[in-house]
Amino acid sequence: MRHGGDDASFELAPGPLVRPFAVTRGRAGKDLHELDIITLVVAVRPEADVAGLDREYGDILRMCQRRPLSIAEISAQLGLLLAAVKVLVSDLISSGHLIFRSPPPPTTGRPDIKLLQAVLDGVRKL
């Protein structure tokens, strides 16, 4: 929600140092769905839903239509700190606008050979 008379100052974006705490209303979030910097998220609600959302939520929903983006990419594109993006994305997961896929937690098992081979093949083809 915007404060009518303050729009001008909102437009002077104070940058990533200040905005995250404003957009998350001071929350850093305890329940962040185990989001990692490379957690991928994608929208499962149409872009039209943006109309009912606060600006940053809408921006994220719009960016994630039809193609998965990582938390890192959302953070870079919106100019928001990773910590703030995790809170916002977490809210959108809880509200059913986004789904996510986090990397598996580190284990003491062997690395996934098939995955390594796929990455190696892909890089060789660059």
Partner: protein, 206 residues
């Protein structure tokens, strides 16, 4: 393998079940060419994200009074390579300043491996990164960026100077060159395959 997923059923156009993201780290001293390497191989113009220093590694959730604090952030440059429809690779250039080394802890969790980029004129700048990955048993290679005008060393001399185990590959490169940077990644991934098939440690354990 266990994945952490949301429990909602994805629709057909937004299915994440077959997609996974992996990361490699590019570490080394300040100004050694980390972002140049990422730029050389990334399919996107490298992006920059920032993290708040006070939130790193500590899990601090209480932001009471944060508006009165001076907040410091640390920047990360990263690139992306779409390996195939199922796998996306992210390359993260770790912060060069030693005082931000602890940022690497969160970054390194789950990383497949790392490249320690070194400059022969300032080899000691890479010691911190080498120690970090050795202590966390994250497999890595050393890539020596051969700057114009820098004295050329051969692999054995570099290996001796940075005091790494014999099994750690050392590769000479010029990160401004796409093929050279690509060969660095190939060498790393070959090393990761070797470590994985010979019973090496898991990626990113710490």
């Amino acid at each position: 393998m266990v994945f952490v997923n949301s429990d909602r059923t994805p629709n057909s156009s937004s299915d994440l079940s077959g997609v996974r993201a992996v990361k490699l780290l590019i570490a080394g001293g300040f100004g050694v060419g980390k972002t140049t390497l990422v730029t050389a191989v990334s399919e996107i113009k490298p992006l920059r994200t920032e993290e708040r220093l006070s939130s790193l590694g500590t899990g601090i959730d209480d932001l009471t009074g944060v508006e009165r604090k001076t907040t410091t952030t640390v920047a990360l440059d990263f690139g992306r390579i779409t390996i195939n429809p199922e796998v996306v690779l992210y390359l993260f250039g770790t912060p060069g300043q030693d005082r931000f080394w602890f940022m690497w802890r969160e970054l390194s969790v789950g990383a497949l491996g790392a490249v320690v980029l070194a400059d022969t004129r300032r080899l000691s700048d890479s010691f911190g990164a080498i120690d970090f990955f050795e202590s966390r048993e994250i497999p890595f290679i050393v890539a020596v960026n051969c700057f114009d005008g820098a004295e050329r060393y051969d692999e054995a001399e570099v290996r001796q100077a940075v005091d790494i185990d014999d099994h750690v590959p050392v590769q000479l490169c010029d990160v401004r060159d796409r093929d050279s940077s690509k060969r660095v990644l190939v060498r790393l991934l070959e090393h990761l395959m070797t470590v994985a098939t010979t019973g090496g440690v898991a990626a990113g354990r710490w």
